[in-house]
């Protein structure tokens, strides 16, 4: 029972971490290696508003999301757009950006155990005899709501449809008058906000540490590869596979092996079905 409950919670957490990465890659084909850094950065910005400036928790979350969204848009507009389509440069530029943020935070003194965000609601309830704290239930709730609203957004709004159109065929989208550069900026902003949302939801469960940035990046990439790069539904399904696999390893082997599970998942996927469970990139499979 506890495997089921904590597996679900872990899976939703993974899905939250990976959605932003999957979205940005799916739409603009830019692998955002600064994803983990944005995740941690949002935690620190919220902390600064909350503890440094003494603002209301809800207000600081709102401001953080706004800032992170703008930051993502600027990052794309001024840096990534110049290297778009050059695979090596995309990876190196976004990875360098992420490193600069993370190591900058570390240098700025944000390390150790003293930086924590408060949980949204104290206390816990019993589900099937297992105590689960409210924060984790909120994570599952908001995670589900995010996936649902993303689906609605991309299927029923003009902007969302334009984003999907661009993801499917950029040339055709351009011919129909969709500004692909602007759409990519929007996608990056949404992706950054999703990373920020994941950070704000998940960081209260532990300390804000810089290392989390690297772990989140790796987990997000693992989920996206297993699910198939560019496929959101695949990412959600893969999050459940990896999430449960991780919880099973923690229960039967020990918590040190969580990362190894992610790596093994990537390697097995790449060997067995390189385009992932629901890979959009059929040409990849042909090329392999």
């Amino acid at each position: 029972m506890d495997i089921l409950i904590y597996g679900t919670i872990n899976s939703v957490a993974l899905a939250l971490m990976a959605l932003g990465f999957a979205l940005v890659y799916g739409i603009s084909r830019v692998p955002n290696f600064a994803h983990g850094a944005i995740y941690v950065l949002s935690g620190f910005i919220t902390w600064t508003f909350l503890r440094g400036l003494g603002l209301n928790y809800a207000l600081s979350i709102f401001l953080t999301m706004l800032i992170i969204g703008i930051f993502g848009a600027l990052l794309y507009q001024f840096i990534l757009i110049r290297v778009r389509g050059i695979a090596i440069s995309e990876i190196i530029a976004s990875y360098a950006m992420g490193l600069a943020i993370l190591e900058g935070l570390r240098w700025g003194g944000f390390k150790g155990m003293s930086y924590t965000l408060p949980v949204f609601a104290e206390g816990s309830i019993l589900i099937g005899g297992i105590p689960v704290d409210y924060q984790r239930i909120i994570v599952v709730g908001i995670g589900g709501a995010t996936v649902a609203s993303l689906w609605l957004f991309t299927h029923y709004t003009r902007l969302g449809l334009a984003l999907r159109g661009m993801a499917q065929d950029e040339r055709a989208a351009l011919m129909l008058g969709i500004d692909s550069d602007f759409m990519a900026v929007v996608a990056m902003a949404i992706g950054a906000m999703l990373a920020g949302l994941a950070g704000i939801l998940l960081l209260p469960l532990g300390n804000i540490v810089v290392e989390a940035g690297y772990n989140v990046l790796i987990l997000a990439i693992a989920v996206c590869i297993v699910g198939g790069l560019g496929s959101w539904m695949g990412a959600v399904l893969a999050a459940f596979i990896i999430g449960f696999a991780q919880i099973l390893t923690v229960v039967y082997l020990g918590s040190h092996f969580q990362m190894v599970v992610a790596l093994l998942a990537i390697i097995f996927t790449l060997i067995l079905k390189p385009s992932g469970l629901f890979g959009m990139q059929k040409q990849l499979e042909e090329r392999v």
């Binding site: 695979a87 530029a93 990875y95 360098a96 490193l99 790796i218 790449l270």
Partner: protein, 338 residues
């Protein structure tokens, strides 16, 4: 300021460049020196480097610089001649380093044996571990290589094998510091000119073909994965060589061998020095390593510093210093009326 409405910049090869392309290079001392002087400056400069830097501390820096240069050459070779972007230089360093340390401290092999064995065996291990990802291109390969050093460090920490977090202490050092310095400098020069020669051989052409159009290579009846495996073996051998030397220099081996520095600095050096030139990465290391050494007291700010340099160069000046220098050396430019 020239009016670019009416004028265009035209670049032409210098006469001496054209004369030295063929057998006429042997015509006079001027042509000969035009060809050999840049290479001689590099070789003599590298050899003199330990003698001209002040003090033992900076001599140590020169040695570390050479390790980074080996890694940078390996990155440049894999990324720009085979098309495999490896973000995990630390993985190669760690594999070579740990092997050398184990061979030395457990089995008592002297450095002269551990370094070649660690290089070859380490490269074989790296190639074997990367084998499943070899059919992949671009992003995927980069992702997997990025994960390997992090995960290996985690495994060593978790299982408490190979010395765990304390590392392996008491590794033998080189006979003396001059041997140490000139050994690594000689290795860098050998690696540099060796890889330059290699990429112009037939197999180098195949490597480049794999990068440019792997389908064409397949259509010619060649096995892409086989050639990629050879390239990864060569690239990782350079990295493992660096790692093996590093543990003998530090006389210690631990999970800091998997540190990010080893992954990011060689990439930054390659981008700054000039991608795809092989000399560029060495030049980039000559610039970056001393700067990062001067910034040592700022801690992790160094990483911020060279990530920002890296980003700036890759976005705004992606050709790098060496390509720029070569162009100035071989060509002149003038304004012509349209």
């Amino acid at each position: 300021m020239v009016n670019t409405e009416q004028f265009r910049r035209e670049r032409l090869d210098r006469g001496i460049k054209i004369r030295t392309d063929g057998l006429y290079a042997l015509m006079s001392w001027r042509e000969l020196s035009y060809l050999t002087l840049p290479r001689l400056i590099l070789i003599v400069g590298m050899l003199l480097l330990p003698l001209i830097v002040p003090g033992m501390y900076w001599q140590k820096v020169v040695t570390i610089l050479c390790i980074y240069a080996l890694l940078a050459i390996s990155f440049d070779f894999l990324a720009h001649y085979v098309g495999l972007v490896s973000l995990g230089g630390a993985f190669f360093i760690g594999a070579g380093g740990y092997l050398a340390a184990i061979l030395n401290s457990t089995y008592g092999f002297p450095p002269i044996l551990t370094i070649p064995i660690a290089t070859l065996v380490g490269a074989a291990v790296c190639t074997l571990l990367l084998l499943p990802c070899l059919p992949l291109r671009g992003v995927y390969f980069a992702i997997v290589t990025l994960m390997y050093p992090l995960v290996l460090a985690r495994i060593i920490e978790a299982l408490d094998i190979l010395g765990g977090t304390d590392g392996i202490v008491g590794v033998d050092s080189f006979a003396n510091r001059w041997v140490e310095q000139y050994a690594v400098i000689a290795m860098v020069l050998l690696a540099l000119f060796g890889i330059r020669r290699l990429v112009n051989l037939d197999i180098g052409l195949v490597f480049r073909a794999v990068m440019d159009n792997d389908q064409a290579v397949r259509a010619s009846g060649m096995n892409i994965s086989y050639y990629k495996a050879i390239a990864v073996f060569i690239g990782s051998a350079l990295g493992c060589l660096g790692g093996a030397c590093l543990v003998h220099i530090y006389m210690w081996c631990g999970i800091s061998l998997f540190a990010l520095d080893f992954s990011i600095l060689p990439i930054a050096a390659t981008v700054i020095g000039g991608s795809g030139t092989l000399v560029g990465p060495v030049l980039g290391c000559l610039i970056l390593v001393p700067i990062s050494e001067l910034l040592r007291e700022f801690g992790t700010l160094r990483i911020v510093f060279y990530s920002l340099i890296l980003m700036g160069f890759i976005v705004f000046r992606s050709e790098g210093l060496m390509v720029y220098g070569e162009r100035k050396y071989h060509q002149f430019q003038r304004w012509v009326k349209v």
